[in-house]
Symmetry: C2
Subunit: 289 residues, 2 copies
């Protein structure tokens, strides 16, 4: 048996088509969603992600502007820019590209973002809506939401399924567990991590296995760790020294899984689109639409 | 075999002794922790809980005042009182007793509480700290924290343990899962609920089983659902029509479990003490102590 491979690109395109229609409707009412990206320094990954948001946003008719600041910009100036964007009524979403240069305290910058414009879901308030099962008013972080979209749009019913999430980070594993548990999705969720006693057993028990262990965990999940016919979602992006990208799941798992997402080309293909989607949602919540 | 029964009262007393010493130290520096309880109407449970906070607080030398408002108090007046307490520098913690009368929108009142004084952990910001694994700056809701205190002070090591939580509510199950997963505790956590396909199997797999299904789920967990020697924490308070209190776990589970908490007299015995503890923590965070 060989798994059905679910690629991110066509699903991202489907979401973008829906968002474009929604943005067209908003423009008729006089609103154009605008995302402001703050890019400090010239980390190649961050530069690429920032530009990608501009091109992705433009495809849907949203405005995306990138504020490029020099690597040695003082923290206070970055915070001041964020506050200026908070106060700008024409800006509906704010995203600060990470990593920030070493002299800048990440928390100080993130906490400066007005929660209502926090389209990356990094503020305590947005995280609180996720914990509190108040997703309709939340701006959910992109990677966990991308996992949910991939699963649901691939036609997989999550209800009552046994789901194992590998990874307990604050940007993927923890919020993803909350989303899966929410009323309507109704998954039974197990969260594993580096201290889990028998990770392979937890993986093999899963009808849906989502890997987001991250940094350095490439190919952590072997073929034998996958339950035959399981849905396997790989949410990791591990950069190897040669610059290539791998996931947390050994591609050989394809021989056992029922459905699997590739890395690259899976979950990661949706995140930029979801950030624009969050900008649209932020605008609607801000304007009471 | 019969389980070791862990009662809440002596553990609550141990915590109160520690808090009293801490409060004595704060008083020497000129700070007396003060909790303001807002009680709307005369729900007998709420009246009891409010009074209990006064006596518990006094034992430790904290100030606890109860603002009693008539059942028909307009929502705006309740919100106005909360805002007055927000602005009062001598008040370090605010707690609104639930349930509120039907004409009052709970969310409007809860969201009015200044997060820094939210000792019941009901605001989005406090929930966000819990989701984000930022417990040192969080005011954690009382029941999940009581579960953690009971387990740890009973000498049970959570690290790497397989924990099953029954219940996905926003006040117990969801935050508790986040606390158990946190770095340092390192549990592998499964969250179950009414839509879980095989609840008994999930329970039997658990080295630590925490039941918080709540309302109407009395004695949901049977003796046969418990792994021999497991730690069983019952965080539920189910009120029966005759006014008696039961938990989610059938007391017969005592024959199988290694350690078990009773209901009443277990987790519930800690919550008021923890609210006073949160008031002390809130004061320290507010004053940078």
């Amino acid at each position: 048996m060989s798994a059905k491979v679910i690629k991110g690109a066509p699903i991202a395109e489907e979401i973008r088509a829906e968002l474009k229609a929604e943005i067209d409707g908003l423009k008729e009412k006089g609103f154009t969603p605008k995302l402001s990206v703050v890019l400090v320094g010239d980390d190649p990954g961050s530069v690429w992600y920032a530009r990608n948001k501009v091109t992705t946003g433009e495809k849907m008719g949203a405005l995306v502007e990138v504020h490029e600041l020099a690597t040695d910009t003082p923290e206070a100036d970055v915070v001041a820019l964020v506050k200026k964007l908070n106060a700008d009524d024409d800006v509906h979403g704010i995203l600060v590209e990470l990593p920030l240069p070493g002299h800048i305290n990440k928390a100080n910058v993130m906490n400066a973002i007005l929660p209502a414009k926090d389209v990356d879901g990094v503020t305590a308030e947005q995280r609180g809506y996720v914990l509190g099962d108040m997703e309709s008013m939340a701006l959910v972080p992109a990677t966990p939401l991308a996992c949910i979209e991939l699963i649901q749009r691939a036609g997989v019913d999550i209800k009552g399924k046994k789901v194992t999430v590998i990874g307990r980070g604050d940007t993927v594993g923890r919020p993803l567990a909350m989303l899966l548990l929410s009323r309507g999705r109704d998954a039974t969720v197990t969260v594993c991590h580096s201290r889990t006693a028998d990770l392979a057993a937890e993986c093999r028990a899963a009808e849906i296995l989502i890997a987001a262990a991250g940094a350095g965990a490439d190919h952590l999940v072997k073929k034998d760790d996958v339950k035959p016919g399981a849905i396997v979602i790989d949410a990791a992006i591990n950069e190897k020294p040669d610059g290539s990208i791998t996931g947390d799941v050994d591609p050989a798992a394809e021989e056992v899984a029922g459905v699997i997402t590739p890395v690259p080309g899976g979950v990661g293909s949706l995140t930029t689109t979801i950030i624009v989607g969050n900008t649209v949602k932020a605008l609607k919540l801000q304007k009471g639409l």
